[in-house]
Homo-oligomer: 200 residues x 2
């Protein structure tokens, strides 16, 4: 049965109810605190139906927040060729997703809230930690993987902020190839090179 | 006469009127469009009095927006020792300013607005271009100085976003020394090293 098809007691009204309940639960309880069971209860459906339509909690979050990318798809694709060239692939992926999703995509809205409201920040942080950072931390074959991953996140967040939100002219005018060449090596160094940290 | 002292027709009521008029003018007309003359007119004072209390338009912006740093003071101090080690000095300065100014400092508020409202984005962009980026572009002794400066801005914006606004645990827990060692070389490369840009 197709995941978007109808089933007894299902249908698009039910799907909307699940997504509404999910958005409410994630923003009230954070990503970690929200549960499929609780969301199903709020939507008045069986938890199995939530899994049927949306898969894991992570995929439900992606659907509820209408994120323009699904980490369960994107991360394996980025990591599959190995750590070599990963920095450049990450920059190219970020630009590809955002250039096609548009400046006012739902992930931009989520980021804006997360920078203003503590609850949204918690939800964002928890989702990013579980669904994105944990996989990268696991893949890194060097000391201080959490700090390295966070530094990668900092440079990626900065690209989003300056190219798409603040729209600094030189960042907007740069071609994807220029940004991949300019910033890819930064991420590669954070991911794989010696960092010479104090006391390290 | 001390710049904060009273003078005939002056006093703190007048200073508040000038700052109010400046905030209104900057947010309505952007940084480039606002003029000392227009701000003085709105506040009902002579332009000379605005200069007397606040100096240049740049310094008036810093005072009106209560920025925790003054670029006319900070930039010369950063650049004076030369380009060598500039990346590390910039990271250390950013952390020093923000760690002591607190997470809810007025610059954070300005950044948040700039990521949400077009007018605030324009004001921020124009101020950053004239008061900060132009000086760095001028100091860089390499190709593509505007793009290099924008990449520096992107990594700095990313530090602010992940350490102070989103509060990613690994970024919050990192010591200033660790971030200087980890991220300083990124800025140094953007400022001075060959970038191998396509077609460059």
């Amino acid at each position: 049965m197709p995941r978007t098809g109808r089933r007894p007691g299902g249908g698009s009204g039910t799907q909307e109810a699940i997504l509404d309940a999910a958005r409410a639960a994630f923003s009230e309880s954070g990503y970690d605190g929200a549960t499929i069971r609780g969301i199903a209860g709020k939507a008045g459906v069986d938890p199995a139906l939530v899994h049927h339509y949306y898969g894991t909690k992570e995929q439900l979050f992606v659907a509820a927040m209408e994120l323009p990318f699904d980490p369960t798809v994107i991360l394996p694709a980025l990591l599959e060729p190995g750590l070599d060239g990963l920095g450049e692939r990450v920059v190219r992926m970020l630009l590809g997703v955002w250039d096609s999703a548009g400046d006012n995509n739902p992930f931009a809205a989520l980021l804006r809230s997360a920078m203003t409201y503590d609850r949204a920040a918690t939800m964002f942080r928890e989702f990013a930690s579980r669904a994105i950072f944990a996989t990268i931390v696991e893949a890194i074959d060097a000391d201080r993987p959490e700090l390295r991953t966070a530094m990668v996140a900092s440079q990626m967040a900065g690209i989003v902020m300056t190219r798409y939100l603040l729209k600094l002219p030189a960042m907007v005018q740069a071609t994807p190839d220029e940004l991949v060449a300019g910033i890819g090596p930064t991420l590669q160094r954070y991911l794989t090179d010696p960092l010479d940290l104090p006391g390290g």
